[in-house]
């Protein structure tokens, strides 16, 4: 896997350095509570507090139909121009999937 090579440059020593490479790029953030964010990373710190721009939030809700006990998965989408995200809710940070 040659695509690891560029990551071994100077200044890439710890996982957070990979987040640094995503500054000013759109990223995907998975959060607690079945929430996902896609937005442009403007700032972050060691807690993974972040400020994102042009954010789309996707919340996945599972409704259980009382009669049939059927589970219906529903997604709610919201948009926000500028959002501060508290780091304690963050599960993972990644470049967005190409399909998104």
């Amino acid at each position: 896997m040659e695509d690891h090579a560029p990551l071994e440059g100077p200044g890439i020593e710890e996982p957070l350095d990979l987040v640094k490479l995503s500054l000013d790029e759109r990223i995907y953030v998975k959060l607690r509570g079945d929430r996902e964010l896609r937005g442009k990373l403007h700032a972050y710190d060691g807690h993974l507090n972040m400020v994102l721009g042009d954010v789309e939030e996707t919340i996945t809700v599972v409704d259980v139909n009382e009669d049939t006990m059927e589970e219906v998965v529903r997604t709610v989408r919201r948009n926000c121009e500028m959002l501060f995200v508290r780091g304690d809710g963050v599960i993972l940070v990644s470049p967005p999937s190409r399909s998104a």
């Binding site: 640094k20 700032a43 507090n49 400020v51 721009g53 926000c80 959002l83």
Partner: protein, 98 residues
């Protein structure tokens, strides 16, 4: 310290704080501290009909740890400055962070 300094620049702005219990409160940012505790004035709960008990509350202190998001006015955020500050913060604190 980055976000503490950042929020200090936003004092006096209208923000919406969304809490981990889904309550969302809009108000004027009065002050912030190192834990990102937040004081808001002239508050309004976003879905007032769902939280009628909050109608009488005019200002509040929010413990930083219960915050999920803070929605910010994009116009008052200098994104270039923020990105520079984020890059610089990483250089200052190399391997071991507190």
């Amino acid at each position: 310290m980055l976000f503490y300094s950042f929020f200090k620049t936003l004092v006096g702005q209208q923000v919406t704080v969304e809490l981990k219990n889904d309550l969302a409160i809009t108000g004027l940012l009065v002050s912030v501290d190192q834990f990102l505790n937040i004081k808001l004035d002239n508050i309004k709960v976003v879905e007032e009909s769902r939280y009628p008990h909050m109608m009488a509350v005019k200002n509040c202190f929010i413990r930083g740890s219960v915050v999920r998001y803070v929605q910010l006015p994009a116009a008052s955020v200098d994104t270039a400055l923020l990105q520079d500050a984020a890059r610089r913060e990483r250089q200052q604190q190399p391997a071991g962070r507190k």
